[in-house]
Amino acid sequence: MAAITEVGITDTAAESRLAGAWHEFAERRTAVVALAAVVLLIGLALLAPLVAPQNPYDLTQLSIMDNKLPPLARGLDGMLYLLGTDDQGRDMLSAILYGLRLSLYVSVVATAIALALGTVTGIVAAYFGGRIDALLMRLVDIQLSFPAILIALILLAILGKGIDKVVIALVSVQWAYYARTIRGAALAERRREYIEAARCLALPQWRIIFRHLLPNAFAPLIVVATVQVAHAIALEATLSFLGVGVPITEPSLGLLIANGYGYMLSGDYWISFYPGVALLIAIVAINLVGDRLRDVMNPRLKR
C-alpha cells in the first residue's frame, strides 16, 4: 500500500475560477459600465409590462388626439409623455420598452438555437474529420459566402412575415459562425492527450465528443455568442426597418425607427430618434461586454 506521500493541495488561494474571471473582467471600467447597461436593458425588457406607463399595443389605451407630442409634453388627460408620442398617440417610452423586449427576445432565442445547431455541426465535423468534415464545412462555407441580409431577405420572402419566421431567418444566417469557430477549437483539442486517454479507455464515441471534447472547445463560443446577439439585434432591426421583419402590430425597435422615419424632416425627430438611441446603446453595450470577455478568456485559454 503506497504511503500517502503527497500532502495538501497547491491551490491555497480560496478564489474559484469564476471569481477570478470576474475580477479580471472588472479591471476595465468601461466593461463594467457596459455590463451594467446590458443588465439594465435586460431587466427593463423583462419587466416592460410592469414598468411601462402604458401598453402600446392596447388600442384602447391610446388617444389619437395625443399624437406627435414632443418629449415631456402632457396629454389631454394629464399623462406625462417622457419621450413624446408617435403618430398614433403611442407613448414612446412604452413603445421602446416593448420594442426592446421583442428585439432581445428574438435575438436571444435565435442565437441560442443557432448556437446549438452550429455547435453540434462543428464538433461532429472536427471529431470525425475526413469526408464528414469536408461535407459539413463546405455547407458552412457556402452559407458564409452569402451576405446575411440577402439570405434573410430571401428566406422571409419565401416564408412570409411573423416573429417565428424572423427567428428562423436569423438562425439560418448565424449557425455557420458557431460551427466554424467550434470546429477550429475542437481540432486543436482533439489532439490533446486527455482525448487520447479517453480513447484508450474505450469510452463510447458520443461520450468522448460531448463530455470531453465539447466542454473544452466551448470557451471561444461564449465570446462569439455574445457579439452575435448584438449582430442579431442589428439584423432584425434592419429587416424590420425594411418592412419584412416583425409584424406592425408588435413593433420591434427597428420597426419603430421605420415608422418615425418619415417624420424626421418635419421636426418630429423623437419618433425615430429615441428608438435609435436605445438600439445603439443595446448593441454597443453588448459588443463592449463581448470584447472584454474575449480579452479575459484569451490568456486563460493559453493555460
Binding site: 504511503a3 506521500t5 503527497e6 500532502v7 497547491t10 491555497t12 488561494a13 478564489e15 475580477h23
Partner: protein, 326 residues
C-alpha cells in the same frame, strides 16, 4: 584574488499578485569569477529561473527586485536605468533560454537577426557584421554557415536553433553568460554537442557562465562550482567535487540519492517525501524542514549559512558533516 565578474548579494525578487506577495527569490548570494562555470541547480519553484532573469533585469511586472545588490564588474545593476541595462544586455551580459524561439524571431532570416544584434552595440559596416556572424556560426559548429545564414529559424532543428542562439549570445564576447536550461529539451546526443561547444567557447574567451538546470549530472560534468536552490534560497554551495561527493544539506543529499544511477538496480529509489512548498506559502524558518529527516524544533527559527559562505556552505542547522570542509 581578482574581483568576481558577478557578485550577487542578498538578492530578493517578489511578485505582487492579487492574492498577495510571492517571494520567488529570497536573499540569494553568490559570485562568479572570470572563466568560471557556476551551476545553479534546483527544481521547479526553486527560484533559479527568476534569479537568472533578475540578473539581466528581465523581471516583468507584477514582479520586481525588492532587495539586495547585483554587482557586475563593479557596477550596480539592481535599480539601474533601463537604458543602461539595455546597453549591457547582448554586449556584456547575454542570456540563452530553454526555448531558442525566445531568442529568435520567426519571421526574420538568421543573418538579419545576427547583423541586427551586432550593429545594435557597435558601429560596423554591414559586410563586416555579416562576416562576424558567419564566423560566429562556424564557431558553434554549424556546417555550411553561408547557407544557414540565409535561412529562417523554422528551417532548423531544435539543436541547431539553440546553437544559433548561443552564437548570437557570444557575438560580443560577453563577460557573463546566463544559460537557463538550454539543453533540457534537447536529445542526449545533441546536448552533448552543445555542452562541448559551450565548454570550449567559454574557456577560450574567458566568459563567466551561470548554467541553470535541474540536471545534476550535467552540472557534474560542466561546472566548477555549484549552488543548490530550494524555495527561493541557496541551501548549499561549493566546488562541484565537494558538493556531489559529500553533500552537507539534507536536500542535496536527497536529490543526489534519488538519481537512479545512485541506487541498486531494481531497488526502490531513495525518495524525498512530500513536495516542495509553493512560494506563496512558505513555512517559517527552513523551508525544507517538513520533508527533512533531520529536522527538529530549531529548524523553525531564523536560518543562516554555516561554513564558509562564498566557498563551501550550507543553510542548515543539521548539516551532514559537523564541520564544513575547510
Amino acid at each position: 584574488m581578482p574581483a568576481p565578474v558577478l557578485a550577487v548579494t542578498d538578492l530578493s525578487t517578489s511578485f505582487f499578485t492579487r492574492n498577495g506577495a510571492v517571494r520567488a527569490v529570497n536573499g540569494v548570494s553568490f559570485a562568479v569569477a572570470r572563466g568560471e562555470v557556476l551551476g545553479l541547480v534546483g527544481e521547479s519553484g526553486s527560484g533559479k529561473t527568476v534569479t537568472g532573469f533578475s540578473i539581466l533585469g528581465l523581471v516583468d511586472p507584477p514582479g520586481r527586485i525588492v532587495g539586495g545588490s547585483i554587482r557586475f564588474l563593479g557596477e550596480e545593476l539592481a535599480g539601474a536605468s533601463d537604458e543602461r541595462l539595455r546597453s549591457l544586455r547582448g554586449a556584456s551580459i547575454a542570456m540563452i533560454f530553454q526555448d531558442p524561439m525566445m531568442t529568435l524571431n520567426p519571421v526574420l532570416r538568421i543573418d538579419t537577426q545576427m547583423i541586427e544584434a551586432i550593429t545594435a552595440h557597435e558601429k560596423v559596416s554591414h559586410r563586416a557584421a555579416r562576416a562576424r556572424a558567419r564566423a560566429a556560426l562556424a564557431a558553434v559548429g554549424i556546417a555550411s554557415p553561408d547557407e544557414r545564414l540565409a535561412a529562417y529559424p523554422h528551417q532548423f532543428s531544435g539543436g541547431m536553433r539553440q546553437r544559433v542562439a548561443i552564437a548570437i549570445a557570444l557575438l560580443h564576447r560577453p563577460a557573463l553568460l546566463v544559460a537557463d536550461e538550454p539543453t533540457t529539451a534537447l536529445d542526449v546526443t545533441i546536448q552533448s554537442q552543445i555542452l562541448a561547444e559551450v565548454q570550449d567557447l567559454c574557456a577560450e574567451s574567458g566568459t563567466a557562465l551561470i548554467w541553470i538546470t535541474h540536471d545534476l549530472a550535467v552540472v557534474a560534468g560542466l561546472a566548477d562550482r555549484v549552488a543548490v536552490m530550494y524555495a527561493g534560497r541557496i541551501v548549499e554551495e561549493g566546488p562541484v567535487d565537494a558538493v556531489l561527493a559529500q553533500p552537507l544539506h539534507p536536500y542535496t543529499r536527497g536529490l543526489i540519492g534519488s538519481v537512479p544511477s545512485r541506487n541498486a538496480r531494481g531497488a526502490p529509489l531513495n525518495q524525498i517525501p512530500g513536495m516542495a512548498p509553493s512560494p506563496a506559502d512558505l513555512p517559517p524558518g527552513c523551508a525544507f524542514a517538513p520533508r527533512c529527516p533531520r529536522a527538529d524544533v530549531v529548524c523553525a527559527g531564523p536560518l543562516g549559512m554555516t561554513g564558509h559562505p562564498g566557498e563551501r556552505a550550507a543553510r542548515c542547522w543539521h548539516p551532514y558533516v559537523s564541520e564544513a570542509a575547510r
